[in-house]
Symmetry: C2
Subunit: 333 residues, 2 copies
DNA sequence: CTGAAAGCGCTAACAC
DNA sequence: GTGTTAGCGCTTTCAG
């Protein structure tokens, strides 16, 4: 209901030029004589003119806005990715519309359609298993998408991740070398591509390579209390080393172990497959696969800017280096 | 650069009505005969028509978008507030443009101006000390603002908080009753209104009321490592009970104490003045002032929707109930 | 280098 | 109930 005080038209009149010229000045178009430009800029300053981005968006068909689709707002994994995204977005003068899809009020498709209706220039997707119709909607509207910190079944969607298989194998190996032979894998959604085609595959291969018969995969373990409740089951199953995808889950397992008098790492080793601040504040501190979350977000956003400018990408799928940080939840012998 | 496949005009032609009628149907205007409405809706469905929100925004001067201004993306305090905001925003069909102002690339004023240029219908502000020119810009453009989880010098800006003075007093009292007489207050920015006019005031009043002479206020303590490094100073100063505004800072102090062999709570009691997930996963667990962050965000957003609809607010400043949760970092005698 | 003019896709009086 | 008609504020050919 806001009425705009001063428009491009006012500036044009005051500077005795046409709207087109003002537009050129505002957009840094070089085809303006310095003298004219100075005059226009003076008027812009004097009148406190601010361009209306909505009108610009309608006329130019570019909104300089990107959509962020994130599973949960209160998960530091996504927050740290978002920080990298945000910094690069700022650098390239994009605003970010953030959409959490944890809310059951609206289906994911509707959220995505809403973003598309807002004419976002691109989307960063951080959730799992993008629905087919979403992919179609993105293609139909010619809206580029980049995955950050996740993988997907649709092979043509660019992504920025780490090498999950390699990281997990390294983590399993660490525990194996500590003498742990009853190794377990704890995941959230086992059908997520990251798990299905990477973590679980790597885990099974590891077992096979080391001639371990008993498989211990626990899925549907999403948060702290899920982890806390799982711990007794792990013990019951004779697990002596576990790799956990989320660090809040790891902490749940850890605290539950402490409360039950189970010694970490002597009786149970824990490795977190993705570390946030949470993993580093608990005691004993958690051995983690440290993903470069900030950089992953930044690289993803940079890729998206290229796509939005119509450029080609050299590599569709980028894997950034991770680090296995040994702390107190493993023996590290 | 996207070309819209189907516009309101296509629907109108196909349904043999005018654009105005289609617009009415899209916007749920009741002044349409059921028969006509059905026909239009059939065409909309058949053509997969989706309204262009940018065009709607330009024509109606409402973008159904609100701006969120947050100090840091990777702080669960703001994330939990945001979740409440997001849920209510979704309910009222608003999108959220999130802007972190931790980045030094752009000044806060520019960030706010950018939001205003995008014609946001309102703003939720979660940072401290809103600059005067920002307040003016909001007023000039007639953009409502609501503060969530923070207070400000400008008394006319609505806010949703808890009663910080009361909460802190209660926390100090808890420690005092445990026999702690050398009480300290640890804050981030001492000039933030929440501290300056609330926490510090309450702290000083408490000292005075209990005839305690020595004041221990530590400011500029923002994160985990600041807290970690502060601990030895606390001990040196003879502090035996401390109230800390941020929980990551509390955890820093706690871990540092543990590492230095200082017994918590026997030798040092710690109370966190705002709890997130972090506070509850560490051991010993932290006694906290539990703020209803989700609700605070939700209420703030609800207030904003009213303001955006031109309604009056019954109360400008809302204080929600908090809870002092006693855990292991205080003796609780 | 600058201006005129035609939209971008939709809403909102105002008629009928 | 429904259609007509101006815009909303800006970009972008196209002339000159």
């Amino acid at each position: 209901m806001r009425k705009q005080e001063v428009t491009i038209y006012d500036v044009a009149r005051e500077a005795k030029v046409s709207m087109a010229t003002v537009s050129r000045v505002v957009n840094g178009n070089s085809n303006v004589r310095k003298e004219t430009r100075d005059r226009v800029e003076e008027v812009i300053k004097r009148l406190h003119y601010q361009p209306n981005a909505v009108a610009q968006g309608l006329a130019s068909k570019r909104t300089t806005t990107v959509g962020l689709i994130v599973p949960e707002l209160t998960n530091l994994y996504f927050a740290e990715l978002s920080r990298g995204i945000d910094d690069i977005a700022l650098l390239y003068k994009y605003n970010i519309i953030i959409s959490s899809i944890e809310n059951r009020l609206m289906k994911q498709d509707q959220v995505i359609q809403g973003l598309l209706n807002k004419q976002v220039d691109g989307v960063i997707y951080m959730s799992n298993n993008m629905p087919d119709n979403a992919v179609e909607a993105f293609e139909r509207t010619n809206t580029p998408v980049v995955l950050a910190g996740t993988k997907d079944d649709h092979p043509n969607i660019p992504s920025v991740t780490i090498d999950y298989k390699k990281a997990d194998t390294e983590a399993l190996n660490l525990m194996y070398n500590d003498g742990k032979k009853n190794l377990a894998l704890v995941v959230g959604n086992k059908d997520a591509v990251v798990n299905k085609d990477n973590r679980i595959v790597a885990y099974r291969k590891f077992l096979k390579d080391h001639d371990i018969k008993e498989e211990h995969i626990y899925d549907g373990i999403y948060d702290y209390s899920d982890g806390y409740n799982l711990c007794s089951q792990l013990v019951k199953d004779g697990v002596d080393g576990v790799i956990v995808t989320r660090d809040s889950t790891s902490v749940g397992i850890l605290n539950s172990a402490i409360d039950a008098g189970i010694k970490v790492p002597e009786e149970l080793e824990i490795v977190t497959a993705s570390a946030t601040q949470i993993a580093s504040v608990v005691r004993p501190s958690l051995t983690t696969v440290k993903q470069p979350l900030y950089d992953m977000g930044a690289v993803a956003m940079r890729m998206l800017t290229k796509l939005m400018d119509g450029e080609e990408l050299d590599d569709i799928h980028i894997e950034l280096p991770y680090e296995l940080v040994k702390k107190q939840s493993t023996l590290n012998q």
